[in-house]
Subunit: 106 residues, 2 copies
DNA sequence: CTTATCGTTCGATAATCATCGAACAGTGGG
DNA sequence: CCCACTGTTCGATGATTATCGAACGATAAG
């Protein structure tokens, strides 16, 4: 069924703290989130740690992060654009993202 | 073997962010951490959510939190004193605990 | 000393999660 | 139009984690 398709994202109000924490409790997934701090990235450009990670595994990481409300995953041409949901997370859990990602943001 | 015994705790420098996040990614464990914000508590006085939770399950929660470095679990008479490791966590991951526990601390 | 209480450990079972190959579907280029 | 490319889904397997009864040790109280 799916190739480049709109995937479901939780609304801001539906984001659960425990799910966010769980999503970020894996080193690989945390690394992905960190990469998105400086702005959106195409999935192909997002290497996290292991460069030759199987596609399906990588896609699964994105699913966990997306379903938790940490990132947005949208069609972008033939690829996918990954965006950190900073505003939503900041509104829901002030200071959390900065603390986790080690960003002072000022 | 063990009844009231000294249990191993990670040192401040050994505390891993991903383990802390994982420990707090469970609603029950998160509730326990929140209960300790106002100060140490005897384990028996710490009801989290379910009051008639089996002892072994409760003990397991404490183990996860302790091994992650979130709480300290020390002998206290016949019971056990649970303490949130605020200073250690604040030193290692500034702002994290406040954000997670929803405390502004001021 | 004997007994009741507290909480950890052990062991077994169930549930959840991770990993990855294969198949598939949109997209854009030739 | 056809093909190469990207990334999701499915399905199977293995690894972690959760749950809880039972047994044990240590302490405090009587």
């Amino acid at each position: 069924m799916p190739g480049v398709v709109d995937l479901p994202h939780p609304e801001r109000s539906e984001i659960q703290l425990t799910e966010v924490l769980f999503a970020l409790s894996d080193p690989e997934r945390l690394a992905i989130a960190r990469q998105l701090v400086d702005g959106p990235l195409d999935m192909a450009a997002c290497h996290a740690t292991d460069p030759n990670l199987p596609k399906s595994t990588k896609s699964h990481f994105m699913k966990v992060l997306r379903e938790a409300g940490v990132i947005r995953n949208e069609p972008h041409g033939r690829q996918r654009l990954l965006t950190l949901r900073r505003d939503d997370l900041e509104a829901r859990f002030p200071g959390l993202l900065d603390a986790v990602l080690g960003v002072t943001t000022a």
